[in-house]
């Protein structure tokens, strides 16, 4: 049984068809890329999987459960976490507190909500959040407000916040966008380490070299429809893919990698 299965999924915004007859599966432990030209509907697919938008048609199954109509707040409990194309950290919270939001799904009920942890020396939550930051090499930023951080660091905090939630599957929307070479390299290593712990990765990314190195399988969509699927080499060979990217800004067909 696949970890994630999209079954004939469709999404319209008013009269605009953004996702159409889309089916694909992701096996547990896999690293899969979802690629396509600008406006192909990749972010929308993430929004459908996480419940940000309701589906127009079709079903989404996760871990054997039909989550098509599940409220979005219940999905992280099943193991679905994501990052956003435009980093969405909480600007009024410090870095540690942002990480603590990632702990929320496993933080417990009302008693946990009303525990004045900030008055308790070395409370487990803070210690765990700091340890996670230290492990990611972000310890020095722990007490700063996120707005003061450089872009690359914000992206790492954003990723860590999702990882701290202990997801089974991570949906990453353009994790390498805006990063320099060094940072992209570090991101690759970080994601490989996360995957090594058994986390399934689904990555939307325009950097084809990055995708090629990270992902075992690629799903290509254009105008919301799947046009190819397979290894990077297979996908590159597809005439449909070459056509979709012709004149586009990304360069799968041209073999930019």
């Amino acid at each position: 049984m696949s970890l994630l299965a999209l079954d004939d999924v469709g999404k319209n915004f008013g009269g605009l068809v953004v996702v159409k007859n889309l089916s694909f599966t992701v096996e547990a432990g896999q690293r899969v890329a979802l690629i396509g030209p600008n406006g192909a509907g990749k972010s929308t697919v993430f929004n459908l999987i996480t419940g940000v938008y309701p589906l127009t048609s079709g079903r989404v199954l996760f871990d054997g459960v039909d989550i098509t109509h599940l409220p979005m707040r219940r999905r992280i409990g099943l193991g679905v976490a994501r990052s956003f194309q435009n980093i969405r950290l909480m600007g009024h919270l410090s870095v540690v507190e942002n990480i603590m939001l990632g702990q929320q799904p496993k933080a417990g009920g009302l008693a946990a909500l009303l525990t004045p942890y900030r008055l308790m020396p070395r409370h487990r939550w803070i210690e765990e959040a700091r340890a996670a930051l230290d492990e990611a090499g972000l310890g020095a930023y722990a007490d700063l407000s996120v707005d003061s951080l450089p872009y690359g660091v914000r992206k790492r905090v954003d990723l860590l916040r999702a990882v701290v939630a202990n997801p089974k599957m991570l949906l990453l929307d353009e994790p390498a966008a805006g990063l320099n070479e060094r940072e992209t390299e570090d991101l690759h290593d970080a994601l490989m380490a996360i995957a090594a712990k058994g986390v399934t990765l689904v990555v939307v990314e325009h950097d084809m070299h990055f995708v090629d190195r990270l992902c075992e399988r690629v799903v290509v969509i254009n105008f919301g429809e799947k046009i190819a699927e397979g290894t990077m080499a297979e996908v590159r060979a597809s005439p449909l893919v070459r056509e979709a990217y012709l004149g586009g800004d990304a360069t799968v067909g041209a073999g930019h990698a």
Binding site: R73, M90, H92, L93, L113, Y117
Partner: protein, 281 residues
């Protein structure tokens, strides 16, 4: 202490309580422009129960707080369907409706007003206000407070991390209403007379200003805001009849220079950091 000093402190204490009432929903990003209405519910409930049923003042105040909180809970669900300017309008209207209702309830004197029996003196008012302040400070050290800020920052992402954002908003709104009820009860028993006009829209606007001017990111914000609004007019009193103009200009200046309020989270963090660094060196 002089009678004047005590009077100012009582005013400050009540203003801090109602500022905290406005702060809780604002911490989750929601402006309640009907705080005066919830104060009225708390004040009249306590006054009525203590006069008509001779209940002790403490019981009356608790009942007043509960009544205001319950009303908050009941209206939160429909009212919080709206947001932004519409939420402000809805709560504004709610405050007006409550005031109009008390203008027509004969049992509590309607337009003629209602004398309130048990008197809450300086010590009682300050103790209760202190209790409220401690409770809110405790709350501000919890995960609930973290989620309030997260909800204000980005409700969608907060929801994606498993939080029932609507429940958080309803809780903040109702808790704020409950605290407003306490503020209203203190007002009633200290000034010993209630009139619906006491709880007009200007009061709600002022309370919102306390919080917005002080800052919505930390508990210090509403306290500083309430102090600013309570003490500054007194300090300016010696000046002249220009004091309201000076006061208004000061408000505009503060909002222009610090649009997020006098006290921001970043400022609080910097102050804390400074302390830590001093301690380390």
């Amino acid at each position: 202490m002089s009678g004047y000093g005590e009077a100012i402190l009582v005013m400050l204490a009540i203003n801090i309580v109602v500022a905290l009432a406005g702060y809780l929903p604002l911490a989750a990003g929601q402006l309640n422009l009907g705080i005066a209405g919830f104060m009225a519910v708390g004040g009249y409930t306590s006054a009525y129960l203590t006069s008509a049923y001779h209940l002790p003042m403490g019981v009356g105040m608790a009942a007043g707080a509960a009544a205001a909180g319950l009303l908050g809970l009941l209206v939160a669900v429909p009212v919080l369907r709206t947001s932004g300017i519409y939420l402000a309008l809805a709560t504004f209207a709610l405050g007006q409706v409550i005031q109009a209702a008390f203008l027509n309830i004969e049992a509590v004197g309607a337009a003629a007003g209602y004398p309130v029996k048990p008197y809450a003196g300086f010590t009682v008012v300050l103790s209760v206000a202190f209790g409220v302040l401690v409770a809110v400070l405790l709350l501000s050290r919890t995960r609930f407070a973290l989620l309030l800020t997260a909800t204000k920052n980005d409700p969608l992402v907060t929801e994606l991390f498993g939080v029932d954002v609507r429940a958080i908003r309803v809780a903040a709104f109702s808790l704020g209403a409950l605290i407003a009820g306490i503020g209203g009860a203190l007002y009633a028993h200290h000034y010993s007379y209630l009139e619906p006009q006491n709880f007009n829209i200007m009061l709600s606007v002022y309370i919102a200003l306390y919080v917005l001017l002080g800052g919505t990111q930390t508990v210090a914000g509403p306290i500083v805001g309430a102090a600013f609004f309570t003490l500054l007019p007194e300090l300016l009193r010696a000046g002249s009849h220009w004091r309201f103009v000076i006061f208004a200009v000061l408000i505009i200046l503060v909002m222009a220079v610090r649009p997020e309020g006098l006290i921001t989270g970043a400022l609080a963090r910097r102050l804390r950091f400074g302390k830590r660094r001093e301690a380390a060196s």
